[in-house]
Symmetry: C2
Subunit: 233 residues, 2 copies
């Protein structure tokens, strides 16, 4: 696991890595074929964590409530893109991301507004909390009318992982344990809450849950353990 993380950090800094098999994949022609898909830079650099026409009144209400809380600086809205930017600044240092050509960030892979993961994250650094407003679209269906358990896992992984990232630095998810309590209706609005629990050495422990916007329904509970990648390759 540790080795994997180190190799990922190498990927992050553009150094070649034996484990990063992307070149091998490319040589087989897989990525080359895929890269023929038309790709708009404009759509890639558009901040998706802002209201669009698919957002329900409940989603807008929650968004406005959190935006109000950003005014005094205690909360901060996090932008979100279809592809990570090529350069990111973390802890005052700048990193260059080496990504697959024409790749997309999984949580932003569905183009049409409202069909996939509609979400926006808000960070409270002092409280070590990250809250994600999430409206699952109809392309995330699992059981009839409800979000697929895999899409619920994805938003939990992103929120808990995001919280660990902003609190502890470069991390990789080591464990994700989800208790599904009640399925999430498609088109509804839920709050995905995550909190940094503790840090033990290189391990970052997180807790989280998903509740309906009205707070009445507990949809899922989760714990996450991430590995903090300390070393700079």
């Amino acid at each position: 696991m540790l080795r994997s993380c180190t190799q990922l950090v190498k990927g992050l800094t553009c150094r070649p890595s034996a484990r990063c098999r992307l070149d091998a994949v490319r040589s087989r022609g897989v990525v080359d074929r895929i890269s023929l898909v038309p790709f708009s830079n404009a759509s890639v650099t558009t901040d998706c964590a802002l209201p669009n026409d698919s957002w329900s009144p409940d989603m807008l209400e929650q968004f406005n409530k959190f935006m109000e809380m950003t005014r005094d600086g205690t909360w901060k809205r996090l932008p979100s893109y279809r592809k990570f930017m090529e350069k990111v600044t973390l802890g005052g240092k700048e990193y260059v991301l080496k990504r697959a050509p024409n790749s997309r960030f999984f949580m932003r892979s569905i183009d049409k507004e409202g069909l996939g993961f509609e979400y926006v994250m808000f960070l409270n650094q002092a409280q070590k909390r990250l809250v994600c407003l999430f409206q699952p679209g109809i392309y995330l269906e699992g059981p009839p009318g409800f979000a697929h358990g895999g899409s619920t896992a994805a938003i939990l992984d992103s929120t808990l992982g995001g919280c660990a990232f902003y609190m502890a630095g470069r991390i990789m998810t080591g464990n994700l344990n989800i208790n599904y309590k009640s399925p999430i209706p498609l088109g509804s609005v839920v709050l995905v809450e995550s909190k940094l629990d503790r840090v033990e050495g290189r391990k970052v422990f997180m807790t989280g849950h998903i509740r309906s916007a009205d707070g009445q329904t507990l949809h899922a509970e989760a714990t996450g353990k991430s590995l903090f990648v300390l070393s700079q390759p």
Copy 2:
């Protein structure tokens, strides 16, 4: 949880359910707006669990190997669609699925071949095993060049849940616990293995793991607990 499951079964049989808030969602206009997206019945009814041009030689090799094993009937290839069929037969009974208009099954929500979840599942009823060949596309990116942990969780949930479904009947995931061991390179081919561990009352316990096609790399281990929905509403 049990109540949720019962309500889902009600959804499965087209009976109205207080918990299924889809009507409420529709009344807010969310689903109506989404349903304006063009939707092809042909693409929805195409079996996606068959080779296409995006499949790598490794994927085809594994597919042919498993297809060979289906000849004597010990293994069976499972078809897969962008939307669940309106009618499914399970245990000799026919159920009508009440789905959101124009919805998509999450695991088949990305249209372009090779960009999303390319996978095919094979069932061995006697051994209580389900194996999924999985080639993650470049729209599933998380860490640079690798599959997002949420997409890994999604394929595990689908494989473990699918195994429980075919072994025990109508189930809902209650718990999913994943240990991530090594990130999965985009475009590579992995085998997602699941096995029915035991059934205790209404609880169905599953184990699973993800290995590279050459068996050399353990990418993830998982356990799943599903709730077997016994009662017919």
